[in-house]
Symmetry: C2
Subunit: 368 residues, 2 copies
């Protein structure tokens, strides 16, 4: 088809203003660029231990029925999640991962002329959504040791009255953790019209007794099956909040947006807690190995409550060089982009053989 | 947690204004409500023929690797789609079904103070997105016979200069089809700043020689693996447009939003065209059966180019009664909600045994 007039359609001004960059380059693109047939994938905090075998079996059995839409209510899964969280099904919204749910929160509460607040250099998809929905982002820095500067967040929130304060807890990319009393202090001190968006993607790896819990009118907690449950490719997560905030999400979410098999797999994974606990225990062993590896090479590392560890190489240039050299060897890791963590590399805890392979590569690269 | 102040957080005004209703009640909810252990599912235009066995095999083989995120670029799938469509990979955006892609288009081009245009009673998720993003919706009516009133769309578009003109083609729920010359006439006559959003969910069932084709600066075509390819539960579809419009979508889409297994299954399904063509042929036979069934009961039906048929019961009350009575018998169908089609029921073409069962139920209900 063609038409006599060929004008440029113009999107909303805040979207036109976004430069066409890619937030994260995926490992598949790195493989295409580098001509790698395979990679040691330790860069996306995927669980290389895989999903629960019972989740795989449940999904495999239902594949022939992928011709059916999934239950738009994700009823069975929400019922199971509500029973665990000690809340009602109306307090839970299931989405296609935390990225999706975070998008709903930003879309609902942030927009042109509205501010959000986060830590500079934390999980970048929050900033991506704020920009994509036309909001402004204010940031405070990590402390020098990579921990979240809760007091600075409070001070800035009280000054700016942001619509959303974002806290990844445990945090990505630092791996650090803010325990419940400090999260409660943040919530208490925040302006009354600010929402605390708590991204708990790595919560299963954190100390369970000091995790935030419960429902608060100004709190949205987001969880995922991508990390400890080993189902990143399935795209499924959930938000816990008040009935009113969940109802707001329900009004704008994609009603049929969650993969049917992801719902089935997530429910099976949830019912196989022993498998997930085994992954969490093995990840703890792997973190210790990475810390000892860093020590042995004379590098500091940050105590992590996640499935990855940040190792200090002293400068952004040096850390970038390590990431690049490892990629040339077929090892995919990432590094934090912003100070004070931009001199670190971030490596996911893989399986025992993957950790042995990584140690060999890192020793070789460090010696070079 | 609790806090001394418990204010109500308020979302954006256009979101607060949305009543908390559910666009479509899913069949699972109807089963829970009615206490049904199973349903004859002929209400959501799913392909009860299932996906290609080679797609099932490809997905089954990769399930243990669902711990990995899918390729955020959907590169392999886009490459295959571009080769078929005779365009570049940069002309294609893969999303989690047409609902997702339609949301991107509305988000980019429609907003508070902006108008969109559609046919009253067509696929309702377009209106859902327009409302959800704060836009206004103007509608024209179907013609009395259920066909799209292209001249009325042109006239209204020229009067109102909508940001988007939405056309489902073939249309849901009517099943009618607008051939290429008329789509081109619409595109040609539309105001220069209006985008034609062509929802081709059912295109595989339509006459291929008069389907719209190609790239136009003011055209977005959307396709899905939910219908003829039998993968509704996988949530995967794609948009074809100019590099510039696709780049706009890329700037705001969920980068890791498409299920990994859905990408793998879609590619395998695409490579098994024979299977899909067999489904299309069987669906054509089933449509004929439904038309004869309607005839035999003294009801008109609308000639359909999709995997469903609308059958006239003369009034909304009568059609609603048929839908309700069938549901009591464990048969799930739907009906159009708006005149002039609100006196029709809409039934999906099922497998041969399902069609026999449906005919028995409909005869019994019609005789009652």
């Amino acid at each position: 088809m063609k038409t006599a007039r060929e004008p440029e359609l113009r999107a909303a001004p805040h979207i036109e203003a976004i430069p066409p960059t890619i937030p994260f380059i995926g490992p598949e693109e790195l493989m295409r660029e580098g001509g790698h047939g395979s990679l040691l994938r330790l860069g996306a905090n995927e669980s290389n231990f895989g999903p629960s075998p019972s989740a795989v079996a449940a999904m495999a059995a239902e594949l022939p029925r992928v011709c059916r839409y999934g239950d738009p209510e994700s009823y069975d899964l929400r019922e199971a999640l509500a029973a665990r969280a000690g809340c009602e099904i109306e307090n839970i919204c299931v989405g296609a991962g935390i990225d999706d749910l975070m998008g709903l929160a930003v879309r609902a509460f942030v927009g042109p002329g509205t501010l959000a607040l986060a830590t500079r250099g934390t999980y970048p998809t929050f900033a991506y959504h704020v920009t994509g929905y036309g909001g402004g982002l204010s940031t405070v820095d990590y402390r020098a040791n990579g921990s979240i500067a809760v007091e600075a967040l409070i001070e800035r929130a009280c000054a700016l009255h942001p619509a959303i304060v974002y806290l990844a807890n445990p945090d990505n990319p630092s791996g650090t953790f803010v325990s419940r009393p400090h999260v409660e202090a943040l919530l208490e001190a925040m302006p009354s019209q600010s929402l605390l968006l708590l991204d708990e993607a790595y919560a299963e790896f954190a100390p369970q007794d000091v995790l935030p819990a419960g429902i608060d009118p100004r709190l949205v907690r987001m969880r995922t099956f991508s990390k400890a449950y080993g189902m990143a490719g399935a795209r499924i997560g959930y938000a816990i909040s008040t009935r009113r905030t969940i109802e707001t999400f329900q009004k704008i979410r994609l009603q049929y947006g969650v993969n049917r098999n992801a719902q089935i797999g997530a429910l099976a994974a949830l019912q196989d807690d022993g498998y997930m606990q085994g992954v969490v225990a093995e990840v703890a062993r792997g973190r210790d190995e990475y810390v000892r590896l860093a020590d042995s090479l004379g590098h500091k590392s940050i105590a992590s409550h996640t499935n990855f560890v940040c190792i200090d190489f002293g400068s952004a240039a040096r850390a970038e060089g390590v990431v690049r050299t490892l990629m040339q060897r077929g090892v995919f890791i990432r590094k934090p982009g912003m100070p004070p963590l931009d001199g670190y590399i971030r490596v996911t805890v893989g399986t025992p053989p993957e950790r042995v392979a990584f140690a060999t590569h890192l020793r070789a690269v460090s010696a070079a």
